[in-house]
Symmetry: C2
Subunit: 208 residues, 2 copies
DNA sequence: TAGATTGTTAATCGATTAACAATC
DNA sequence: TAGATTGTTAATCGATTAACAATC
C-alpha cells in the first residue's frame, strides 16, 4: 500500500464504488474483478486497482474482490459506521424534502434535529425529526454535539449561520445554498450547487 | 484562441465564473483582473486566463476584464440566453422544493410543467407550474418540446422514464435519483448525487 | 498445475502553473 | 510613455493507463 495523500479525484470516486458495491451485494454477487467492475462503471480496471491501493490491499490474485468485503472496507474508509450525527438548518421546502426523502442512515448519519426561524414550523415534527428554534442552536449543540449540518437556508443568512456552526464545533457543513462559504480550516464544506449543475447540463445540450 | 475540445474540468468551472461575475456585477464592480478574480475564487490567475482562452479573447492587456461583458460572454457559452425549456418529473417533496425554490430562470430555463402519477397532485399548480398526469408525457412533449427534464422520481421508475424522455427528444436529463442512468449518445445526463456528496463530506470530517 | 487477476512500478497523457512577448 | 495585464507558449506537475512480476 502506498499511503501518500489521497487526491480528491480518488475520494470523489469512493462513494460511487460504494454505491455500485451495495447494488452488487444486494443482487447477491459474491465476487468481482477490477475488470468487471470497471466495465460496469465506465472506468479502467487499472484505475480501480490504483484507487483502492491508496487504502490497502482488498483483493486476491486470481480471484478479484469479495463484493461484500470490499463494500464494508470502503464504507469504513468513508466513515459510514462512525455513528455520525447530523442536524439540518432551514426547514423550508428543500429542508423538508431532505428530511422526508433522503436516507441519512444509508450514509451512516442520524438526522437528530432541524432548526428554523418560522414560529409556524417550530415545534412540528417532520419525518420523525423535531423542528426547533434556531435561537436554541448553541444550547442544543452543547448538549448534543453534531458532526455535520445540512444548510438549506436562504442565501443571506448562510454565512452567519456557518460561523455559528463552526464556532459550536460542527465539523462539516453540507451546503445547499449558492453562497461560497468562508470557514475556519477545521471545518469542512461540501456544496451541492444546483445552479452550477443545471448550467453544466445547459452547456452539454448545446455541444456534445 | 485555441479551439480544441474543452475539458470537463474547464466546463465545470464555467458556472462558478458565471456566479462570481454575477455577484461582482451586482455589486457594481466594473473591471477585474485575472489576478483579483483568482484570489477571490481560490484559483490561479494563469488558470483563469487559460480557461477563458478556450472560448475567445475577452480581456484587454493592461486593463483586465470588463465584469459585465465577461459575465455575458460566459452566459452565452453556457447557453443562458437560449430560452431553454424544462419539465420536471416527480412532484414529491424534492420536486416541489425545486419548483418552489429553485430559480430556473436564473439559469436561463423556463419550467413549463411537472408530471406525476399521484391523482392527488395532478391538476394542482405549484409555484405557478401545473402538475400533469405522467401518462400524458409523450402527448405533451409533442406539442411542447422540452430541452431538459428534471428527474425527481423514485429510483425504480427512473430508468424507464429516462427512456421515454430520450425517445421523446428531450436532450438533457437532470438526474436527482441515485440511479446510474443509461441513455443514448444524443441525450446528456447531469446527476446530483446527494448521497455521494454527503459521503464525501463524511470522509472529509474524518481526515482533513 | 495453468489461468486469472492482483498490487505496483513505469510510461503516457492531460491539466495546471510559470514565463513572457505583445499591447492597451 | 511607463505600468499593468492579457493570451499563449513552454515547463511542471499530477493523474490515468499500461505492463508485468507475484501469487492465489
Amino acid at each position: 500500500m502506498k499511503r501518500e495523500k489521497v487526491s480528491t479525484a480518488v475520494i470523489r470516486r469512493l462513494p460511487r464504488y460504494y454505491r455500485h458495491l451495495e447494488e452488487l451485494s444486494l443482487a447477491g454477487t459474491e465476487r468481482i474483478s477490477s475488470q468487471a467492475l470497471s466495465a460496469a462503471m465506465g472506468l479502467t480496471a487499472s484505475q480501480i486497482r490504483q484507487d483502492l491501493s491508496c487504502f490497502g490491499e482488498f483483493g486476491l490474485q486470481g480471484y478479484g474482490y469479495n463484493v461484500e468485503n470490499l463494500r464494508r472496507e470502503i464504507g469504513e474508509i468513508l466513515g459510514v459506521n462512525r455513528g455520525h450525527r447530523a442536524i439540518l438548518l432551514g426547514a423550508g421546502n428543500l429542508g423538508r424534502a431532505l428530511m422526508a426523502n433522503f436516507h441519512f442512515d444509508r450514509c451512516g448519519f442520524t438526522l437528530e434535529a432541524a432548526f428554523d426561524v418560522d414560529k409556524a414550523l417550530i415545534g412540528q415534527t417532520v419525518a420523525g425529526v423535531p423542528v426547533l428554534d434556531v435561537a436554541e442552536l448553541e444550547t442544543y449543540l452543547k448538549k448534543h454535539p453534531a458532526d455535520v449540518a445540512a444548510l438549506t437556508v436562504p442565501g443571506p443568512v448562510a454565512q452567519e449561520l456557518t460561523q455559528r456552526l463552526a464556532q459550536a464545533g460542527v465539523g462539516g457543513i453540507w451546503n445547499f445554498t449558492n453562497v461560497e462559504l468562508a470557514v475556519p480550516p477545521t471545518t469542512a464544506v461540501e456544496s451541492v450547487h444546483f445552479a452550477d449543475s443545471l448550467l453544466t447540463l445547459s452547456y452539454m445540450i448545446l455541444k456534445g
